[in-house]
Every structure is written in C-alpha cells, then in structure tokens.
Point group: C2
Chain length 448, copies 2
C-alpha cells in the first residue's frame, strides 16, 4: 500500500491479523496434508434475519475489498506468529507470499438480502480463501447491521434528513464504519470527522451543553457561537429553559437563525411549542433539529411534529437492538485438486444439532411480478433458469485477485433506495414480522 496513506487515521497497514487463529492452524494442517490447494468455494449468508426484521441491507462490501487488498503478512506479523508457535516454518513461508489471487462475487453494496441469500462468494484455493473468513465476516456483519437500522430510520424519516451522531457510543473505528454504513442506508450527514475525512461523508455539528455552561450567561454563549459561525448556525436551546432560550436565540441571531436543537424532554410537545414560538418571533425559516435517544419508532412518532431533521446516535451505532448480523462463511464446494477444471463437490455440515447449510456453488435472483415488484428471492445451484437470467444478484467484485468493482459511496446509497423501492410495501412497516420476501431454493437434482 501507499505509505502516504499511513497518515489516514482510519487505515491500517495490514488487515491480515484481523483473523481468528484457527484460520492459520487449518492452513498449517492443510499444507501438511497436501489439501491446502484444493479449489474451494466459500459463501457468506445468514440463516435468519434479526428477529422481526423484514429485510437485510448489504453494507461493507467496499471495505471488504480494501481488506482483501491489504491482507499481507509482513515481517512483524510473521515474527509474532513464529514466536507464539502458532504456525510452522512451511506455513510462515506460505504467509510471507500471501496475496489473494481468486475471485469474489457478491450482492452489490446497498442491495437488500434475505435468509439464505449468498451475499458473497469467495473462490480460490482453500488456503487463500479460508484466511479471509474472519475479516470478511467482521466487516459485513457489523456494517450490514448498522445499514439495516439506518434504512428503517430513513424510511421512518421520509424526506427529512438524518444526522449520524453515534461515535461516542461505539468503538472509535467502528464509529467510522458505522457512519459509512448509515450513509449507505440513507443518512445524510455524520458528526464523525474521521468518517468525513476517510469517506467524504458530509459532516455537521455546532455545539453542546458544555459550551453554554462555559459562558456566564446563555446569551453570551449564543452570541459567541453566532459571532464565530454566523446566523445560519444551530443553537442548542435546552440547557436551562427552552422558551427563554428560543427567545434569546432569535434576539441574538435574528430571524435568519439557521436552526435550534432540542436534545431532551418530550420532543413532540416541545417541537410544537418551539415552532409556534419561532413563528411568532418571525423566525419562520428557522429549522428545528431533534436529537435525544431517537430510534426508528421515535422518528416515526414525530412524523406529524414540526421537526426538520433528526440526529441519531446510540440506536444507530448499536443497530437498533441488533448490533450484528448473523452472517456465516461456509465452505460449500471444493474440488479434489487445484485444477480449475476439476469438478466441484458440494459439501455441507450435516450434524443433527442445527446449523446445517446447503451445499453447492449458488446463484441468486430476485423474481418480480408484473409491476416490477419483488416476489421471491430465488437461490439455486446449477444452471440459472432463463426467466431469471437478467434478475441475477451476484456481481463480480474481484477477479484473479484484482478488485474490479470499486464505486463511490453514493452508488450503494442510491442502489439501496432503488432496491427497497422494489420490495413489497410491507417492507417498510416498522412492526415485527417475517422477511418480506420468501427464499425459494431451486437446486439442481442429482443426475439432472
């Protein structure tokens, strides 16, 4: 990687250690057994959506591509693995030259998914694919969980913009990924400067209660903020008495005041009162921003309130009750050799204890009705039925180790809006329910 990139506070020089130890011990054993080079197909999917959710949102794909590209074992890492005796010399030799040379296909970022959807497929030797399990799952499970919550909030907010402000409620780098996933899911801006720096997401923010408390009078704080940031700024009006603060705010900034922010109390009631007061004071264009432990339900309940924007923190970065997706990364087929022509044998865990999988290398397509509305997620092995050929969901992401599908973050954001719009209307109901599309399996029968 470009060493200049080391200046970026959210990059890491290598992603190779974001890996569970067992990936390396499996590699070690497979190298010794001569099975490490067997051509293999791994798939990422989930057996279920979070309880009550209607659809999932694929997010993090772009970050996965970065991670795969940066997956390298440098000297420091190799020394660590040697000293800890995690792997043997043969494995260290393999790792020193590691570079993913296989293919990755997947649902494009922003697309929706359902139980069984093969959201990502990784093909190559067992050795090169197995090592990527942990980092791919970390990224997709985290980012997709956040994007799913963001999408529900965006549905509930309608045309009103959503501000992501949850950095303080999650790990400092998870926060950057959360802001990115929130943007994919429909948020407009973030408070997180690292997310603005790294991903170009628009950033916002004006002041906290501390700023008012720093000054001798609320009026002094407002004056200081307007002097520095202009009349278009957003003044926080709930440090002492909201009514008095709104009056002072308009006195200080005039009717050109950009917005007031309310961060506590009964937001429905207070928003109505503040709107009325602002209108009476002639500040008809001054907006109202609310920010207090909002989730999609609270946002929906404010639909009729005179609110212009929502700031969402905790509930966004914790996935609104579901902080992780339950995607898994499973070997679904492998050949006897490394030969690209060797036939793939479908494989699957078969224990009676649950967690069984469907073997075989899969395609997926979304069948639509006569109005273009989705009616089923169809997942299959073998040839794709002709009527679904142009409804396929997996796209090429990496070919022969080279990333082929980079895109700017607005692309998955727009894609998500389009994909959600083609789901049945019940998709955006906030109430708990079944996945809005059934998953149908169209497997090739043996011998057919």
């Amino acid at each position: 990687m470009n060493t200049a990139d080391l200046g970026l506070p959210v990059d890491v020089p290598s992603t190779a250690l974001f890996t569970d130890q067992y990936e390396l011990t499996m590699l070690r054993a497979a190298l010794k057994a001569g099975t490490a080079e067997r051509r293999s197909v791994f798939e990422v999917f989930t057996r279920r959506l979070p309880d009550g959710r209607r659809y999932g949102v694929v997010a993090g794909t772009g970050r996965v591509l970065d991670a795969v590209e940066n997956f390298r074992f440098d000297e420091d890492v190799l020394r660590f693995l040697r000293e800890r005796e995690i792997v043997d010399e043969a494995t260290l030799d393999y790792l020193a030259g590691y570079r993913f040379t296989g293919d990755i296909w997947g649902y494009p970022e922003g697309e929706v998914y359902f139980p069984g959807s093969p959201v990502m497929r990784v093909e190559g030797s067992f050795a090169e694919c197995v090592l990527l399990e942990t980092v791919i799952l970390s990224i997709l499970n985290h980012d997709s969980a956040i994007a799913a919550a963001a999408s529900r909030m965006a549905s509930a907010a309608g045309d009103r913009p959503l501000i992501e402000m949850g950095a303080r409620r999650t790990h400092e780098l998870a926060a950057v990924a959360a802001a990115r996933a929130a943007y994919v899911g429909g948020f407009a801006t973030t408070s997180d400067l690292a997310a603005g720096f790294r991903y170009g997401i628009p950033t916002v923010g004006t002041s906290a209660h501390a700023f008012t408390l720093l000054h001798d009078r609320e009026r002094d704080a407002f004056q200081a903020q307007v002097d520095a940031l202009g009349r278009g700024t957003t003044l926080l009006v709930d440090t002492y008495d909201v009514t008095e603060a709104v009056r002072t705010a308009v006195e200080v900034a005039g009717p050109e005041l950009g917005a007031v922010r309310i961060d506590s109390g009964d937001l429905l009631l207070v928003a109505h009162r503040v709107r009325q007061q602002l209108d009476e004071l002639g500040a008809r264009d001054t907006k109202i921003v609310v920010t207090s432990d909002l989730d999609e339900y609270a946002i929906a309940s404010l639909a009729a309130a005179p609110v212009d924007a929502y700031g969402v923190g905790t509930q966004l970065v914790t996935g609104s009750g579901h902080p992780t997706a339950s995607m898994v990364y499973k070997l679904v087929a492998r050949a006897e050799t490394a030969d690209p022509g060797a036939p793939l044998v479908p494989v699957a865990k078969k224990s009676s204890g649950g967690k069984t999988s469907v073997g075989g290398r899969k395609w997926a397509a979304r069948r639509v009705d006569g109005h273009g509305i989705a009616e089923a997620e169809v997942v299959g092995t073998g040839p794709v039925p002709a009527e679904l050929a142009d409804r396929q969901l997996l796209v090429e992401l990496v070919k022969g180790g080279e990333v082929t599908a980079r895109e700017s973050l607005d692309v998955p954001r727009d894609r998500h809006i389009a994909a959600r719009a083609r789901l049945p209307l019940s998709a955006t109901q906030l109430s708990r329910g079944e996945p809005v599309l059934p998953t149908e399996y169209a497997h090739r029968r043996s011998g057919s």
Copy 2:
C-alpha cells in the same frame, strides 16, 4: 509517536479525528469569544446502568491514555478541516500545536462503577478538554460494555476458562478492543490474532467445519490436524455425527487427545454423552470445549455439565444485550480565567427535560462494612470526610499532559476480580435487579 509502531495493525497515527465536529466548532467559537482558556473540569459518568445490571466495569482506561497521547492534528487533517471550512485560521493555528497539557484522574481500569460514579475527570483549559470528549466516550462506552458482559460470564463460568471468539461478529478493530476488555473482565484467551499481537493476550484456535469438509473423510481431516498440531489439539466433532466423530477422534489421536469441541446442538445433553463416550474410550483427560451462541445464562446452565471450557462470541462482543455503556462527558465546573488559582464555579444543565447533572468537581469513595464488604458508592464535592479518605476511588492517570499510570493488562484483570469480590454477594446474581450498591451524594452545602 514511534513510526515503527505503524507496523502494528491496530495502531493509528493520530486519534484526533475520532471527534464529533461540534467539538471543533465549540472550540472555534470559544477562541473567538475569549473563553477557550477558561480552566474547566469535565467528568465522565453514567446516569444509569444497563437495565437490570448490578454493577459496571471500567474498561478502556489504558486505551484512553494512548488516545490522549496520540491526539495530534497533522498537516493532512488540518488541510481537511480547512477545505471543509469546519474551522477558521485561528482555530487551525490552535489545533496545529494541540497537545493535552492538563490532568486526568479516574477509576482505575477493572474497578467497578455505579450510577453517578465519576469514572474519569479531565481538567485543563476548556479548549484542550472539550476536544477529547468523543474519543474518550467511544473508548469507555464500548470497552466498559464488553467488560461488564465478560465479568458476568466469568462469574457464571467459575473456574472454567472462557475463550473470546467474537471477532467475526463485530467491527474488525472493535474486536481487538473487545478481546482486551474481555480479558480485563476475566476471559482467559482470545481467538483474535490482532489482540494477541497488540496486547499480548494468549490466543487459541484449531479448526472449523470447513476443514473437515475440505477432506474426503472426517478421519482424514482429524489425521491431518493431529499430524500438524499434535495429539494435544482440539478436534471439532459435530460436522456429521458426534458419536462417530468422537470415536474416530480417539482412534486417530489416542487417549492423549487434548480436547473435542462441540459447536451445535443441546450442549448439556451432548456434553454428558461425549464425556461418557470419551471415558469409555479411555480418553479420561480429553477435555470438552463448547462454543455455540453462549451467553452468561447458557454458561450458568452448563455448570453441572462435564464441560472444561467455554468459547463465547456474539454475546460477548455485543455486550450480552447491552453493546454500549451510557457514559457522558459533562462540564461540571469552570473558572472565569485560565489562572490555576481562579475559583471553580460548579455548572450543570438545568432544563426540565431530563438529562440533568450534578455540578461541581467530585471525589468518590466506596464505603465498606466491618467485614470489608462494600455498602455504598459515595460521591461528593468539597472535602472528603476523614472516614472515607483511604477509600477513595479516583487515581491519577495523566499529570500535566504526561501519562503517569500505565500498567500491563494483568493488573486491571486482577483488580477487577478483587473489586468484584468485595461487592455484596448479590452482585453476581445473573437475574435482573437494582445496582448492588446505592450511590450516596455528599455535597458541600453552599457556604459550609
């Protein structure tokens, strides 16, 4: 920082952008208003524990110290802030020379806390302290949430070791911090190699179902693993039929087989059957490791089962239902000037809409009964009562900008065990309840 450290995959060159934009706009306005240098005291505390929890666990303190030390605005960052017009030139000048020069005190890492406990106190100019809000909260809120879950799981597990294996269920760098927090909370090992590399936490891991599926027969997979990793390895026995796998495992490895892992099914039932089978096969010292969506309740329910170690993933890294603590960072006192001798004025948000705080610079002490068992968390302003003088909880962490309290990770781990042992017995009940200690406020009355 040492550029050699850039090789570490979990370090970042600067933590300055892990910051909400409003910290910088507040700074900008305060610089212009001439209030930025006012001596200020910020405190970190929570108004409540997660619903039903009996105690909190302070974790992340060591990471906060790293973050404060690395909080620098380099050229790339300053350029970003200038281009986005987030701050003005005067603020950029201030940021270019930024270096925290104040003092930080706090509960030592691993200590328990309760609602209102001032777990960290940051003192300096308003300007230098306000900038640290977001990154300090990100770290403490995330790490403390994980450590609290870990502590409950460790209580439930008793003497049996816990393996942290949740990396795939959370952001790849949150995973590293989660492994660290889990260790502080009582876990023994982690699967996450980056956590082993960065923090020296012991790492473990052997194989997944994919390794069995890669091979033509389960026996081949077991043989390959034993050949590479020795008879002391842990074989995963639930890919096909558990009984058959256990028989094969002992045939391949002999009675010296280290352990078998069960990752699905009714663990209580299966563990009993497997133990009986292993004993009948003469593999009396072969251990049983269980790993399947465990949480503290599942661990407790296996107390009577013949299980030797637990692997915990999802529920650990998501805080077992509470993925974030709700700590806040509030200005509690400030002077009129930068003069160290200027009197501090207590300040607090007073709006009727909730979220009120207690003003004033605080001390905290844990009052104990005649048997040394804690009976109250006492928080106050003003002089510390003589009888509590040697029960104080805050310790110096940073003095004049220099970190004074670095410690190896075993110290907070041991401290947590000791602190928890001095709580009333009901602290380790898993059932929902009130905080096990009441928080008492001992505030100096005006004029006293």
